[in-house]
């Protein structure tokens, strides 16, 4: 490596999330030493202890904003970061916890916690981009470690990461997977879902669950029509759209259209 100057400082931040995306980072076993060689991992609570100090060249942000405290903390993270990259469905769309956006949060708190009076939480779970400007969003629940390495490599070279926003269907066709919708009648979110997983589920004869959120230019109403033809009921379709990316606008709108 013969890049001039000091190594870029990288930080990994956690908001409301399951830590799965951070674990994808640690899962980069083969590349981890190369990453550590290329950047100075200055803050990463899941992997090491270290104080927050100074500014960071790149911040990877996992998790959504669910508390007033986190809404303030993300502002400070943004101020300390030259480049801010959100990683995963929580950070880019609010995550599975965005199901609260469609329900009564107080009722949830009362059912779940023995002493609800100790719980201070917002009524919604929202994406990082709803609070601060985001430079790049890496999709997935969890993120794909190959794509994470790509984002870091691209950042180091100053190029745009190759994480195409087209459908999962394209990934099926590239790998030669037989379409589960057409050949088996299995409901699939692939035609409206952002690529990135390599068509993992259709590769195992399952429909896509939409882990990477909406692709660019979705047409959810047209897909709903086809899912109905395949025998999926209205409540089933509503639940199909409400999982890890329930808070992403096209999925949210289509699920709400299924409420009435």
């Amino acid at each position: 490596m013969n890049r001039p100057g000091r190594k870029p400082r990288l930080a990994v931040w956690k908001f409301a999330s399951c830590d799965g995306c951070q674990l994808s980072f640690l899962d980069c076993e083969d590349e981890l030493l190369d990453i550590a060689g290329a950047v100075d991992i200055a803050y990463f609570p899941e992997a090491m202890r270290g104080p927050i100090r100074g500014t960071y060249d790149v911040s990877l942000v996992e998790g959504s904003i669910t508390t007033a405290g986190d809404a303030k903390r993300i502002q400070r993270v943004r101020q300390r970061s030259r480049t801010l990259v959100t990683i995963g469905a929580c950070a880019t769309a609010g995550g599975i916890q965005a199901l609260r956006n469609f329900a009564d949060i107080d009722a949830f708190v009362n059912v779940v916690y023995a002493s609800p009076e100790y719980i201070a939480t917002l009524a919604t779970s929202t994406a990082i981009a709803d609070h601060v400007p985001v430079d790049f969003e890496l999709r997935g629940c969890p993120i794909n470690k190959v794509q994470l390495v790509e984002v870091i490599s691209a950042f180091l070279c100053g190029r745009r990461p190759v994480t195409p926003a087209h459908s999962v269907c394209i990934e099926c066709k590239l790998r030669g997977t037989v379409c589960v919708m057409v050949a088996h009648g299995t409901p699939c979110l692939g035609p409206v879902t952002h690529a990135g997983c390599g068509a993992l589920c259709p590769g195992y004869n399952r429909g896509c669950y939409g882990c990477y959120g909406p692709k660019e230019n979705t047409n959810l109403p047209a897909l709903s029509g086809q899912l109905a033809t395949l025998g999926m009921t209205r409540p089933e379709r509503l639940r199909f759209y409400r999982s890890f990316n329930a808070g992403a606008a096209p999925f949210q709108e289509e699920s709400q259209r299924h409420e009435s």
């Binding site: 013969n2 490599s153 394209i170 047409n219």
Partner: protein, 380 residues
């Protein structure tokens, strides 16, 4: 009649001998087989791997395998794969660059092309291969990898004995009878005698392979049976393309409301372009390693249905589904003629079957035709 043109009759043992003769010539034999409830193309070594006793039911957005009682080896229509996977692979590494100090070293990353023998290439598919030949090696700027793969390929064609529910090769003048572009051509005969195949050679290489097969001479009855097979298929096409000047129709109707209508239904998922045996668009992607010492350029299939495809400085030119579908159809059926000398569609029906919402280009053309002030009344 060319001096390499000959015919003979073989049985299923002869078919196995054919596969072996090709394997002995170190071809990778690729043919139809069942995987994940569909008939796909993959390498094979034995006739037992062929989808004997299976047919398919096809319609817009619908494909199901169906058993058949007659034991036919090739009693189905085309499936989700096309031969383009092999001649023009979905992913291809182009070159690698390594940095050593201040110097860059470039390395051609393309592997030696495999030599394929394709078994069971339909008339529509032969026409599709001929179209891609014109695209990739029709002028001074040829694609060297495509050309090497193509020139090394041995083609065993097949006269269709079964038209699928979405087939319309007859109305595109691309089938069901194979005419040129093969080394050997088979017609599977199930009537007027025992289960057998009529074999025809179409090249010196084909004639040489044919001479090694256990065979008998062709009778008038065999030829008549083979003719009847193709005629029967021609009469059972699942779809038809309107018989009109399609380039003029589409280019005269660029603002027709039908484009808005289809955009309401289309998912812009790109399945139609991926399965089309003539669609040839690709993009290049660059990658670099963490150390910043190795970079690679890579090619992969792309589609006019994506936003990135028409990205120019500052944004994508075709943002709407309407503009993407219209680009696809007007290129395929209209501007292709001017560019490459033929329609870009061979009537294989894959884009209809494998569209998750069953959009049918023959229907879209018909709708524009029937409601266009200029076209009305000319078709059918």
């Amino acid at each position: 009649m060319d001096d390499y043109n000959d015919t003979a009759v073989i049985t299923s043992e002869g078919l196995q001998c054919l596969i072996e003769a090709l394997l002995n010539r170190s071809y990778q034999v690729v043919g139809p087989q069942i995987r994940d409830q569909a008939i796909v193309y993959d390498t094979l070594t034995d006739i037992d791997q062929l989808p004997q006793g299976w047919s398919d039911e096809q319609d817009g957005g619908h494909y199901r395998l169906r058993p058949r009682a007659d034991g036919a080896y090739f009693g189905y229509a085309v499936g989700p794969h096309s031969w383009k996977r092999f001649l023009y692979p979905p992913h291809q590494s182009l070159w690698q660059a390594n940095k050593d100090g201040d110097r860059l070293y470039f390395k051609d990353e393309r592997p030696d092309p495999p030599r394929f023998a394709f078994l069971g290439v339909r008339a529509c598919e032969l026409n599709a291969i001929a179209i891609q030949d014109r695209v990739f090696m029709g002028d001074a700027y040829s694609d060297p990898d495509y050309q090497a793969r193509r020139e090394g390929t041995f083609i065993v064609a097949l006269n269709c004995s079964e038209a699928g529910g979405t087939c319309f090769c007859a109305s595109m003048a691309c089938g069901p009878e194979v005419k040129t572009g093969f080394d050997l051509a088979l017609t599977e005969l199930l009537n007027e005698g025992p289960h057998r195949f009529l074999v025809e050679s179409g090249s010196p290489a084909g004639l040489e392979v044919m001479a090694e097969l256990p065979r008998r001479n062709t009778t008038r009855a065999d030829l008549q049976a083979a003719w009847a097979v193709v005629e029967n298929t021609r009469r059972s096409m699942g779809r038809t393309m309107p018989d009109t000047d399609i380039p003029a129709l589409l280019l005269d109707n660029l603002t027709h409301p039908r484009w808005d209508d289809v955009a309401q239904r289309c998912l812009s998922c790109a399945n139609c372009t991926m399965v089309c045996p003539t669609c040839f668009c690709s993009t290049v992607e660059d990658s670099s390693d963490l150390a910043g010492t190795t970079a690679e350029r890579h090619r992969r299939w792309d589609s006019c249905f994506t936003a990135d495809f028409s990205y120019l400085h500052g944004g994508s030119v075709r943002q709407s589904t309407r503009s993407r579908y219209r680009q696809w159809m007007t290129h395929k059926l209209a501007t292709w003629v001017e560019q490459f000398g033929s329609s870009g569609c061979v009537g294989c029906g894959r884009c209809i079957t494998w569209c998750p919402v069953g959009i049918d280009l023959t229907e879209e053309v018909r709708a524009i035709h029937d409601t266009s002030p200029k076209g009305k009344g000319e078709a059918r």
